[in-house]
């Protein structure tokens, strides 16, 4: 696997995205909407009750950060999962699989693109929201960024599960849409994870996005961390960063081999 291949795949994704009219505008617009909807619905609610539930009275900031983190961290999962399907449909997946290590390099380039895209589609609404709502970060942006960047690694690992699912099942549009919103709920985009029943909370904790969303919010808004301190939450996220890519790669390679043993990666 070569860095040149990864960078070439990254450049191709950038070029393609710029050549689809409205690609960036609609992505940015969607993030704004994801933040504005709960903000508008919850306006005039009981802030004291909200603070008692979440540990912060900053409702706007809570929702804004939730939406931005969701778009930045959760969306790449589907970008990468759907990449296989899209390449299958347009016919280029076989071309990539015909190159020596093309599938891994293309995925690497895609991961870089997703990181870049996340910075844009979450960063702009995040900055706009802070100015618009007059929010003040009580703690460090740098720590929040660290949660975000480190959290991206297990998310890429998790996306390999989604990729494997798409390779195996092929027609996965409805399933992916359902999973996407379920993950949004489970990661605590709208509701604090600590409010979930124990079993649901356990599922939430197994998702790296939960730790990113919580870490970003807690770092910026001074809310309590899931395990009480940023160090313990960060260690939990680091564990995800080690386990998730390894597990994801194992599952993906297993499914890929099974698919090749059957009718192949190019068929749809």
């Amino acid at each position: 696997m070569s860095w040149t291949g990864v960078m070439a795949a990254f450049r191709v994704k950038i070029k393609e995205s710029l050549r689809y009219r409205g690609y960036w505008i609609s992505d940015l617009g969607f993030t704004f909407l994801m933040a504005l909807l709960p903000i508008m619905i919850g306006r005039g609610g009981d802030i004291d009750a909200f603070e008692a539930l979440t540990g912060t009275g900053n409702y706007y900031g809570y929702m804004l950060l939730g939406a931005c983190t969701f778009m930045a961290i959760d969306a790449p999962l589907w970008q990468m999962g759907n990449w296989f399907r899209r390449e299958q449909q347009i016919g280029t997946l076989q071309s990539i699989y015909l190159t020596p290590d093309g599938s891994m390099e293309a995925l690497g380039g895609l991961a870089l693109f997703c990181l870049f895209r996340s910075c844009i589609i979450a960063g702009i609404p995040f900055a706009t929201g802070f100015v618009w709502f007059g929010l003040e970060p009580s703690r460090g942006i740098i720590l929040a960024l660290a949660f975000f960047i480190v959290g991206f690694i297990p998310v890429c690992g998790l996306s390999l599960f989604i990729g494997a699912l798409v390779l195996r099942l092929k027609e996965t549009g409805a399933l992916l849409n359902t999973l996407q919103m379920s993950f949004g709920l489970l990661m605590g985009m709208w509701v604090q994870v600590s409010l979930f029943p124990v079993a649901v909370r356990a599922v939430s904790y197994s998702l790296p996005m939960t730790w990113v969303a919580s870490g970003v919010r807690a770092s910026i808004m001074g809310m309590p961390y899931l395990f009480g301190s940023w160090e313990s939450d960060f260690i939990a996220l680091l564990m995800h960063s080690i386990i998730m890519p390894v597990l994801g790669a194992m599952v993906f390679l297993y499914v890929e081999k099974r698919v090749k043993m059957n009718s192949g990666v190019g068929s749809f």
Binding site: S2, T4, G5, M7, A8, A9, R11, V12, K15, E16, R19, Y20, I90, G91, T92, Q94, S95, I96, Y97, L98, T99, P100, D101, G102, E105, A106, K257, K260, M261, N262, S263, G264, V265, G266
Partner: protein
């Protein structure tokens, strides 16, 4: 020297709950520099065989080696040794320009001097007029040319082309065949699948006829034609067919002489002996039509079906 070796290859897969036997014990050796044809109807197993050679599929049983690399144990090295065009014009990105496509795939093949190689291909395949336009604006022939250039980007020792002319018009098809011939003349081994017999006759050194996952015959085009048992047929339009027919029956190695609507049809025999016999009979020769046995008959004889079926 053998560049592709296939031993006892089987491929089965499941489709809608049924087991499909796509390849049923293929043994094949392709020599370096050879132009090798795979001829067979749709569903014969040609594409499956290619997908196994290029490591896109893992065979159920059997061995494949390309340039000495084992396809199961060293798949990356096998892929690096092969340039392959499977899905034709759909194998490239339509939102990118031709040059961007070549650059991308050049990077995935780890080509060091990509710019030089791309310029070389542009010049070799005359892509100058459209290479910097987006592929979505190309004609079908232009897309196939760029897809072919992509196949050659790594300058591989083996190229595999799966029905490359199937969507092209006559002119574009001819141009592409010329380009492929030129590449082969420069030493690249070509494996070419088609169901068009004239392409096989024009291009291939040896041909394997494949049907139902089995190689039914493997030989040169001339060798395959001999399998059919057919001989050259000469149709002579004459002022007095009966006289000539009688004379021709005595000519050496002529197997059959028949009269059809004022003509005489001769099967077998040397052309010069037949013409001498006609001229010495003093009968006026109005027209002559010589037809050779074709691969369609060979295919029909071997498989019991026509190629278009």
């Amino acid at each position: 020297m053998a560049i592709v070796e296939i031993r006892d290859l089987y491929k089965e897969y499941r489709a809608r709950g049924k087991v499909v036997k796509a390849l049923n014990g293929i043994d094949l050796t392709i020599e370096e520099g050879e132009f090798f044809g795979l001829l067979g109807p749709n569903g014969a197993g040609k594409t499956t065989l290619i997908q196994c050679i290029t490591t896109l599929l893992i065979p159920t049983k059997g061995e494949i080696s390309v340039c000495g690399y084992d396809a199961l144990r060293e798949p990356s090295k096998v892929r690096a040794s092969i340039g392959c065009m499977l899905t034709g014009e759909r194998s490239i990105y339509w939102k990118l320009t031709g040059r961007e496509n070549l650059d991308y795939f050049g990077a995935l093949y780890h080509i060091k001097k990509r710019r030089d190689r791309i310029e070389e291909l542009i010049s070799m395949l005359s892509l100058e007029d459209f290479i910097d336009r987006r592929v979505e604006t190309y004609s079908s022939g232009q897309r196939m040319k760029v897809a072919f250039a992509k196949t050659l980007i790594a300058d591989p020792p083996v190229i595999i082309l799966d029905e490359p002319t199937i969507t092209l018009d006559v002119l574009a098809s001819r141009e592409l065949r010329q380009a492929i011939k030129e590449i082969n003349r420069n030493g690249t081994t070509v494996i070419y699948t088609t169901h068009l017999m004239f392409e096989v006759e024009e291009l291939c050194d040896r041909v394997a006829i494949i049907d139902e996952g089995v190689i039914k015959a493997l030989d040169t085009v001339e060798g395959l034609k001999r399998i059919s048992g057919d001989e050259r047929r000469i149709k002579l339009s004459l002022s007095d067919p009966s006289t000539v027919a009688e004379a021709l029956r005595g000519v050496e190695s002529v197997k059959e002489v028949s009269e059809e609507n004022g003509s005489v049809v001769v099967v077998g025999g040397a052309l010069d002996s037949i013409l001498k016999a006609v001229l010495s009979s003093g009968v006026e020769l109005k027209d002559i039509d010589v037809s050779s046995p074709d691969l369609e008959n060979v295919f029909l004889k071997l498989t019991g079906k026509r190629l278009e079926e």
